[in-house]
């Protein structure tokens, strides 16, 4: 399925945004909305052109995406690992789960002042915050997924004398996968949000830095452009996970229904 065909299938959904953009353009053009508060869609497009051609946008996106995905990798893998460990081992869960649930109640962005003291304002600070933010959704959903694997299937595995390795990779992980992917999608949302906040507070490169500079020079068109870029990146990451969901969970009755319709 190509991007174009997805676009075509949802064509009814695009009427409203297209109409809003059109009215907005007219409103700015007729000075109904002041250029100082809200740039017109065409001026945002123009700013996009300039920034793309100068290569600035590409570099900024690369820098921000690297931060985001480094954080996701670190936080996601440790969340997944601990989730699996606690899902499998009752003892391990007894010792660690309470602690983790307590830490979970601290909003991770509240740690920004501390993080700045610990790491300064370099890359590590932002990666740390993102990792912390994505850790919990992935940990909690992995744990839930492993715990909710049908015990009947594990019993079946026992009757057939599956090795621990097979029990894990053939029953537990596939059984927990729907839940893990939900956690991943949620984590992606947290990832972008955390990055935006972290980048807005302290940075010297990347999308957040571009926004802060644009604000100082009153380049509101660039500010809006970057907001749109954040939205697009978020949507893109979500679509990638949904793609994998459809591939990996094709056996799942709910995805089969989706395919038929």
């Amino acid at each position: 399925m190509t991007l174009l065909s997805i676009f075509y299938r949802n064509r009814a959904g695009w009427f409203l945004p297209a109409g809003i953009l059109f009215l907005w353009e007219i409103a700015v053009y007729t000075n109904f909305i002041s250029m100082r508060f809200m740039p017109s869609p065409s001026s945002v497009a123009l700013a996009a052109m300039q920034k793309i051609l100068s290569g600035e946008l590409f570099i900024a996106i690369c820098i921000s995406a690297t931060r985001a995905f480094s954080g996701l990798l670190i936080g996601g893998l440790s969340g997944f690992g601990l989730g699996v460990l606690n899902g499998i081992s009752h003892n391990f869960r007894a010792y660690t789960d309470t602690t983790l649930q307590m830490i979970r109640n601290i909003p991770h962005v509240a740690l920004i002042p501390l993080v700045i003291i610990w790491f300064g304002i370099n890359e590590n600070a932002k990666i740390f915050l993102v990792a912390l933010g994505v850790f919990f959704p992935i940990y909690a959903n992995t744990l839930l997924g492993i715990q909710s694997v049908d015990p009947h299937l594990l019993e079946m595995g026992f009757v057939y004398r599956l090795s621990r390795f097979q029990q894990f990779f053939k029953i537990m992980i596939p059984g927990a996968l729907p839940s893990i992917l939900i956690g991943l999608r949620y984590a992606l949302g947290v990832m972008w949000l955390t990055l935006i906040i972290a980048e807005t507070i302290s940075t010297s490169a990347g999308l957040g830095y571009m926004t802060m500079q644009a604000r100082e020079f009153l380049r509101i068109d660039i500010v809006v452009l970057i907001i749109c870029i954040y939205a697009l990146l978020g949507k893109l990451a979500d679509s990638i996970v949904r793609f994998f969901e459809r591939r990996l969970l094709a056996w799942h009755p709910s995805f089969q229904l989706e395919r038929v319709s």
């Binding site: 009947h152 299937l153 019993e155 079946m156 026992f158 009757v159 057939y160 004398r161 599956l162 090795s163 097979q166 053939k170 029953i171 596939p174 059984g175 996968l177 094709a250 056996w251 799942h252 009755p253 089969q256």
Partner: protein
């Protein structure tokens, strides 16, 4: 396809041989001695004594909650008895050659039929050989056209046939079945019963079938045992030649007798 006709193609002399071997009665293979099991201080099994010969087909009857499933789970190694012992050919019993067929098929929804069946084969085996074997056995249960489907596409009877195929491919010595056909419609159940009888005759394993259905027990089993109050109170040999007809008079009489006995316990 296991049709009504194919059931008649079973070789009667094969069965008679088995019947003769069994009638000697000193060929005990599996011996359960004073098996007891309680849950939360509530005794469920209070001393099950049962001897089963090789290649015997034993049906276990009893009212709901009497511990039939518990007995099967002990045989499958899923539960440990509190006391008593099990001997296999005179030695301490290991459950690793016993396969349990549950009431639900318990297929892995994320594997296609072929992979669900090869799951029962050792992982280190040659992949091609495993697939070939699985293919053959799925052919036997008449699912060769769906080997690449996911279980969710199948009907209840088809799923249970896959579960049977999975149990058979691992060449069990004992097949322990917990009401495997009770969720199926009458016609599918009838076909499954004949399929089971056929593979049992061909493969020479021992079957222990837990069922609620007296008719099913009489149709298939060499022996019917009844569990009451945690012990075996009836142990009846069914010496009818095979293949048995569902609507045969003598079978019906026997079924009525057994039902009467069952009803008596329930009333008491």
């Amino acid at each position: 396809m296991i049709t009504f006709d194919s059931c008649k193609t079973l070789e009667p002399h094969h069965n008679l041989n088995n019947a003769q071997i069994r009638s000697t009665g000193n060929n005990v293979d599996l011996l359960l001695e004073k098996i007891a099991k309680s849950f939360d201080n509530k005794p469920v099994l209070k001393g099950i004594d049962l001897s089963i010969e090789q290649h015997e087909f034993v049906a276990v009857l009893g009212k709901s909650g009497c511990g039939k499933s518990t007995l099967l789970r002990i045989l499958g190694g899923l539960e440990q008895p509190d006391s008593g012992r099990i001997l296999k050919a005179g030695k301490s019993y290991q459950a690793d050659k016993t396969r349990v067929l549950f009431q639900e098929p318990r297929l892995l929804p994320w594997l296609n039929l072929l992979d669900n069946v090869t799951l029962a084969l050792p992982d280190r085996w040659n992949k091609e050989k495993s697939r070939k074997m699985a293919h053959d056995i799925l052919l036997k249960v008449d699912l060769q056209d769906q080997i690449n489907s996911w279980p969710s596409y199948l009907s209840g009877g088809q799923k249970q046939r896959v579960a049977l195929a999975r149990a058979l491919i691992s060449t069990p010595q004992i097949l322990a079945m917990d009401e495997p056909f009770s969720a199926l419609d009458a016609l599918t159940r009838f076909n499954m019963q004949h399929l089971l009888e056929q593979v049992w005759i061909e493969n020479g394993f021992t079957v222990i079938l837990v069922t609620h259905d007296v008719g099913e027990a009489i149709l298939l089993a060499d022996r019917v045992v009844l569990i009451e109050e945690g012990i075996i109170t009836q142990n009846i040999a069914i010496d009818f030649p095979r293949p048995r007809k569902v609507r045969c008079h003598t079978l019906n009489d026997l079924e009525n007798d057994l039902l009467d006995q069952l009803l008596k316990i329930k009333a008491a």
